[in-house]
Amino acid sequence: MISNRFGSYFVRSAVAVLVALGARSAVAQDARLTLIRDDATRDVVRQVLGAAIARGMPSDPLMSKALEGVAKKATPKRIREAMNALEGRMRRANELLAPTRSVDEMAAGADALYAGVPEKTLKLMRAAAPNRPIAMELGVLTEMVANGVPPKQASKMLLDLMAHGATGAQLTALGSAVQGDVAAGLKPDVALDLRGRGVMSLLPPPPSVNSLNPRGRP
């Protein structure tokens, strides 16, 4: 018994050490660290990245955030806070978007949450598209909310469009059109309503509508 316990403890410890060493190695191998000239900042970034990788988080979005902070002359403390906050949002997005695990989705979900998209929306979007990536849809949603469209309205429109089978190109075109309208002075909610209806008119009804009429003929 004692031997088994000891063995289990040993294995877990060994795995933890290997993961930590692997994380450190992965961080050390990221050539982008050399773009950070300041020693103190580089140490902070290395440390935060290492810890995140050890927790199973992707390093790419975090490294990009760190480099953005360096470019914007943020202090090491601020960069640490921003990276930690992003990791927290990615973790939450990952939970909401489960079971799919994709770095792009995780990062897009994190951005959406930061922009003010309700957590429930992420769950609904995953439910609407359980078997395909939705990073693009999340990006468009973030773009709309950033342009001033109320998060609930943007979420509803996007979910409706997804239910009708809107393509990624149609959604990004919608986001761009709304942005153009807002820049031209139209109210964001009105712009989305008008443009969204335009896209909707091009789409077939969702399959669920036909299923309500089982005797209906095509």
């Binding site: 982008r32 773009l35 990009s64 955030k65 480099l67 953005e68 902070g69 360096v70 470019a71 914007k72 943020a74 601020r78 960069i79 806070e81 921003a82 906050a85 992003l86 792009d104 990062a107 897009a108 951005d111 930061y114 922009a115 990073a135 693009m136 990006g139 468009v140 973030t142 773009e143 709309m144 950033a146 342009n147 990624g168 190109a169 959604l171 990004t172 075109a173 986001g175 761009s176 942005q179 820049a183």
Partner: protein, 378 residues
């Protein structure tokens, strides 16, 4: 005076189209003293409204002015003008403008004028050249007259200073206007023809802008004329909304627009109903983003329209936030980059200032107290 002021506004609006504040709406109220040759001076109150809007293709301007005086020296004028340029990379810019006025100048009779002009500009890195023409019809005490002009010129910008030189040849049968200005024909009834050479300077820095124009006029053929005129004006911005404009000098008769020769002094207060939303807009900087879909991803073109004196830098997540080289184009800067599908953050900065989201992109918080622009590539 009104025509002169409007001409200056047009010059400023269109020589830097795309590098001015995208939208502007302002009111103007002031006093004016004008004295025509061999006449008493008249005081008038001047009221005006100016609207101007620019984007990457069009620059448009609308102005309406009225001067009111108790002794019936009064004029009202509206002007509309439009400049078009297919893209910021395109070196040609076409302009068209029309104006209509009514006036009741006691010495020259009551009437009105309608005029229009066409102008083609060729934009070169720090300046450009133009050629164009204008025609006008004036009705004064029910007697019609016509004026026409062809002109050509060029401008060059050096830092905060812009120098302009132009020549113009004007033809008219507006005898009352020209004789009131001291210009006479050798033969009675002959049409008038004069050549003008103008040299103008514009200086602008922070709150102050200065303008000055010297015009030399000589008669041609049967027209006897040898005149010069100098007009200068200054504008001081007390706040982003309120500015004071002072001006004075001599203006030569303009037979195309029917305005008389006069010595003018003016002071006015301008109130901007719409002020720039941020420093970028105040500097006259505008950014434009365009996506050209490819088989995979898109080519992103980011164009920054900015005055020549402004240094522009750009960084983005697709460059690991390292500064990107922008290509200098007429009137601004440009970046073209092929991107794979995904989401990207972009930021620009001007004159080494803080990084900020380009105006034409959705703005997302960056976690550092600022914002970045968001680009979605399908």
């Amino acid at each position: 005076m009104i025509a002169r002021a409007t001409a200056c506004a047009l010059l400023v609006a269109f020589t830097a189209a795309g590098a001015q504040s995208p939208r502007e709406l302002s009111l103007e109220a002031g006093v004016l003293r004008a004295r025509q040759m061999n006449r008493d001076a008249h005081d008038a109150i001047v009221l005006g409204v100016l609207w101007r809007a620019n984007d990457v293709h069009f620059a448009s301007l609308f102005s309406a002015n009225a001067s009111v005086s108790r002794d019936s020296v009064a004029a009202a004028q509206i002007i509309g003008a439009l400049a078009y340029r297919p893209s910021l990379q395109w070196p040609l810019q076409s302009e068209i403008g029309i104006s209509a006025s009514r006036f009741g100048v006691t010495s020259l009779g009551r009437g009105g004028n309608v005029s229009g002009y066409l102008r083609q500009r060729v934009l070169i890195a720090d300046g450009g050249i133009w050629g164009g023409g204008a025609i006008g019809s004036t009705d004064r005490d029910n007697i019609a007259s016509r004026g026409s002009a062809v002109d050509a010129g060029g401008w060059y910008r050096l830092g905060d200073f812009t120098a302009t030189a132009s020549i113009a040849r004007t033809f008219t049968d507006d005898t009352p206007l020209m004789e009131a200005a001291g210009i006479f024909p050798l033969l009675d009834g002959a049409d008038f023809s004069v050549d003008d050479a103008s040299f103008a300077g514009h200086y602008e820095q922070r709150r102050l802008s200065l303008d000055a124009v010297l015009t030399l006029r000589n008669g041609r053929g049967l027209t006897l004329a040898s005149q010069s005129a100098f007009f200068a004006s200054a504008t001081w911005d007390f706040t982003p909304r309120v500015s004071l404009a002072l001006g004075g000098g001599h203006q030569l008769a303009d037979p195309v627009r029917g305005t008389p020769d006069a010595t003018v002094a003016q002071a006015s207060v301008r109130f901007a109903l719409r002020v720039p939303r941020n420093e970028t807009e105040a500097k006259g900087i505008a950014t434009f983003a365009r996506l050209e879909p490819q088989d995979i991803g898109s080519v992103l073109t980011l164009t920054v329209a900015a005055p020549d004196s402004v240094a522009v830098e750009m960084a983005a997540s697709f460059s690991d936030w390292q500064p990107l080289m922008l290509r200098r184009i007429v009137g601004g800067w440009e970046l073209k980059v092929a991107l794979k599908p995904g989401r990207y953050g972009v930021a620009v900065r001007f004159d080494g200032g803080a990084w900020q989201a380009p105006g034409s992109l959705a703005k997302i918080r960056d976690g550092f107290g600022g914002e970045s622009g968001l680009v979605i590539i399908p």
